[in-house]
Subunit: 147 residues, 2 copies
């Protein structure tokens, strides 16, 4: 079993994707993060889901969590307003997280070793200059465990 | 909307749970991690899914990823043997990850601020000395985004 056979479609965004659309993709697909691809469609980095919150939650609340209890409710309107019109580029952490990439011919053990070392539950699969999809920790465990 | 209304059932393990059972729970439920509860059933820490791989992938392969390409295939038998009979206690990282905990009465904004600050996509909800469940990033985004 090689990476190309384990790879499945995984939602991607670009640096220009609207942050609200990215948040909706995260919610719809129940994902811990999204793969950010460059203009050639190749994997560039990962947008962790919690990073969307870092952008949408007012700065003063993050600096002083006690304020969050006072501001009774975060309105859905305010949340969407903070995200709509903002490109994914602005949501990425200053030090972008490394997105592990494997070759289509890599083995299950290579993928597992890479996930273990980088502590990342998803790796992108690239072959012949094209992204085939991604292998998730879940897909890897499904492959390794008895049913 | 308060944490107690957003909380849903979330799979837990104890320090004594067999690692193979924990891996199966991760795979079946497509989760990034499991909540580890203490003997009173209260949330203690989180077992990241990738930590299971750190334990199951032979040490020499993690130290030298090139070896993973040589060892052609990790057999499912070897994988399961590495996990079966090992308690979750031994899988936890030396520096266990902080599991964010909120009170049942905490607001959506408090949960969002905590997830943003700790960069953790799941928080446990505790009320009256009992764990009610957990709120995931996904549940929080579902609540905040227009349908």
């Amino acid at each position: 079993m090689r990476a190309r056979e384990l790879a499945s479609e995984f939602p991607t965004v670009t640096l220009e994707t609207d942050a609200l659309a990215a948040a909706q993709l995260l919610a719809d697909r129940d994902l811990p993060g999204l793969i950010v691809v460059d203009s050639a469609g190749l994997p560039d980095t990962i947008l962790p889901g919690t990073q969307v919150l870092r952008f949408a939650v007012p700065r003063y609340v993050q600096d002083d969590p006690k304020l969050a209890a006072v501001v009774d409710e975060m309105s859905a309107d305010a949340f969407c307003q903070a995200l709509a019109g903002t490109p994914v580029r602005e949501l990425l952490p200053a030090k972008a997280r490394e997105l592990p990439v494997v070759d289509g011919g890599d083995t299950v053990l290579e993928i597992a070793a890479l996930m273990a070392r980088t502590r990342t539950p998803v790796v992108a699969v690239v072959e012949d200059g094209r992204m085939l999809g991604a292998v998730t920790l879940d897909a890897l465990l499904d492959r390794m465990l008895p049913r």
